[in-house]
């Protein structure tokens, strides 16, 4: 008893007690708050998945199946990832307006929150490509226009045209123009391979190279028409049409004038 009271009066007792007290309070609070955080995050996530599932059941399941397992007219969505949902719904391609050859870009039906919920739901079915974050998509900083141009010409230009204006595929399908598409959606298209488009894997076309492609596309959008009227930038098709109609038409007009008898 005497020893305890002596210890209590030790000059280190005060500071030690203070440290002990703070530590106890701190850790308790840490643990308590951590526990609540995980639980709320989990709860949020399951709520989000549930919300996404409800949206999916209402808007998508008639074609893609009640469990996203796919059907006769639509592919399975198991393993397509959040990025695929974000691209297809975020550009208005899904839900499709009709059963034509191609799902076209149109007005977006769902709000960003709803799209996020559906993406989380589909991603919860099986792992797949994730929606790229803003930090990843810093193409202005991490991309190179020259490299992007070379990559675009090798990997993209055969379908999307050398200036990104799009082009024809088989049986009425086409590769759409890449002008005016948000960087996020371009990136998602490359990693998910929507519709006819193949996937461009991160190892064969690295994330930095993908950013270079995006930077080149964004540059091409604002590129002035240095060579005169661009005529849609589709090359010999419109240029030939103009020469054959306007050019030859003018020549015929002059020829008729030359041969006309003066009065």
């Amino acid at each position: 008893m005497k020893r305890l009271s002596r210890l209590r009066r030790h000059r280190a007792a005060g500071p030690l007690l203070l440290i002990f007290g703070l530590l106890t309070i701190g850790t308790t609070f840490q643990v308590a708050s951590a526990v609540t955080n995980t639980t709320t995050a989990n709860a949020d996530r399951s709520a989000l998945i549930e919300e996404g599932k409800q949206l999916f059941l209402k808007g998508c399941s008639s074609c893609h199946g009640l469990n996203a397992e796919g059907g006769v007219v639509a592919p399975s969505l198991i393993g397509v990832g959040a990025a695929s949902v974000d691209f297809q719904v975020g550009t208005g391609r899904m839900p499709m307006a009709d059963m034509s050859q191609q799902a076209v870009r149109k007005n977006v039906v769902y709000t960003p929150e709803e799209i996020h919920a559906m993406a989380v739901y589909v991603a919860s079915l099986a792992p797949g490509p994730e929606v790229p974050g803003d930090e990843l998509l810093n193409y202005e900083r991490d991309g190179s226009i020259a490299e992007g141009g070379e990559l675009f010409r090798t990997n993209c230009a055969m379908c999307h045209n050398f200036a990104g204006q799009g082009g024809a595929l088989t049986q009425g399908k086409w590769a759409p123009s890449v002008m005016g598409v948000t960087p996020k959606h371009i990136y998602e298209a490359m990693i998910t391979g929507p519709q006819s488009m193949p996937v461009f894997s991160d190892k064969t076309l690295t994330p930095e190279e993908k950013l270079s492609v995006i930077k080149w596309i964004k540059h091409a959008e604002t590129e002035p028409q240095l060579g005169g009227v661009a005529l849609g930038r589709v090359g010999p098709v419109t240029e030939g049409l103009l020469v054959w109609t306007l050019g030859i038409g003018m020549l015929i007009g002059v020829a008729v004038w030359l041969a006309m008898k003066a009065r």
Partner: protein
């Protein structure tokens, strides 16, 4: 029947129609108007040239102006072109208007004459040639005659040298590519080797053979033959015979990108239908059936490159192409 009706009535030569005078021939007032019109056309040409000179000197090359319908246009180039077009067009237009309205338009009959020259002229010509030859003394100086003949003859033969440029024969160039057994497939561009695990199902990669050695420079003539498209499918999607199936690796299949029709780069791969489309003449190849031609003018499937992985897991060619890549050529074995 009377005699008269049997006679064939000859169609008489109607001769030239009566000349119709133009307004400008009849009325000096109209001639004056036409004169002024021609002058205006020529002055428009002058204005065009001035516009050309002005825009060359005074308009900055990076000035853009908005033109309705056409959008932003480079003013420097637009007015250079417009000025030159005006300068040339209105000279021509003025000349035509002048000729049609003011120059004489009386119809004239130009009589044909014999092509053969007069006897006198012909005799004179022969005489001149003979005299010239005599003065030059070619007959007396055979050395000059022969060396001149040699010089002229030899120089005349030199165009035969150009025939050499039709060759040399390509030899085996068209039948061989850079692919050897064990050559790694590397990305184009980037030259990075590719592991089988790098490709997801549905992925494609544009590839070239890895360059071994000091000189990393690729010749365009090599790229034109070596380009290979790598595609990954689900293995169960394949509809191949056992040999061709052994040329694939876990669903990864490789084809020459050079179309067997005219040599365009075939790389429009449709992931859903698994068709490859050539953009030039729409030949369509079915990837699941070893690039069988299902549409278009191509006569042969795309050559398939047998692929496997090496000990480090990188994709390599099992063997060179078993047939020449690209379009048909003389001497190509079917």
């Amino acid at each position: 029947m009377s005699n008269e009706s049997k006679e064939i009535e000859l169609i008489k030569d109607p001769g030239l129609p009566a000349h119709q005078h133009r307004r400008t021939d009849v009325d000096e007032k109209y001639a004056k108007i036409a004169e002024r019109q021609v002058a205006i056309l020529f002055m428009l040409s002058v204005a065009g040239t001035l516009l050309l000179i002005y825009s060359y000197i005074f308009i900055d090359t990076d000035t853009f102006i908005f033109i309705p319908i056409f959008g932003d246009q480079n003013a420097h180039q637009l007015f250079l072109g417009l000025g030159m077009a005006m300068a040339l067009f209105f000279i021509g237009a003025g000349a035509i208007h002048w000729a049609k309205q003011l120059m004489s338009d009386e119809e004239v009959i130009a009589q044909r004459h014999e092509f053969r020259s007069d006897e006198v002229d012909r005799a004179e010509f022969v005489k001149t040639v003979k005299e010239g030859a005599a003065v030059a003394g070619l007959g007396r100086r055979p050395l000059i005659k022969r060396t001149l003949g040699l010089a002229l003859g030899l120089s005349g033969l030199t165009p035969l040298l150009l025939l050499r440029d039709l060759g040399p024969l390509p030899g085996n160039e068209q039948k061989e590519t850079s692919w050897k057994a064990g050559t790694r497939l590397v990305t184009d561009p980037g030259d990075r080797p590719i592991k089988a695990s790098d490709l997801e199902v549905g992925a494609v990669a544009q590839t070239l053979p890895e360059i071994i050695g000091e000189d990393k420079h690729r010749k365009l003539s090599d790229i034109a033959k070596d380009a290979v498209l790598l595609i990954r499918l689900r293995p169960e999607d394949f509809n191949l015979d056992d040999e061709r199936l052994s040329w694939t690796h876990e669903g990864i299949i490789a084809f020459s990108k050079i179309c067997s029709h005219m040599g365009c780069a075939v790389a429009l791969y449709e992931q859903q239908t698994k068709h490859l489309l050539c953009p030039c003449h729409q030949s369509t190849f079915d990837v699941t059936r070893a690039a069988k031609v299902i549409f278009g003018p191509a006569a042969r499937p795309l050559p398939q490159l047998a692929v496997t992985v090496d000990s480090e897991g990188y994709l390599i060619a099992q063997a060179p192409f078993n047939e020449p890549v690209g379009p048909s050529f003389w001497g190509r074995s079917a």
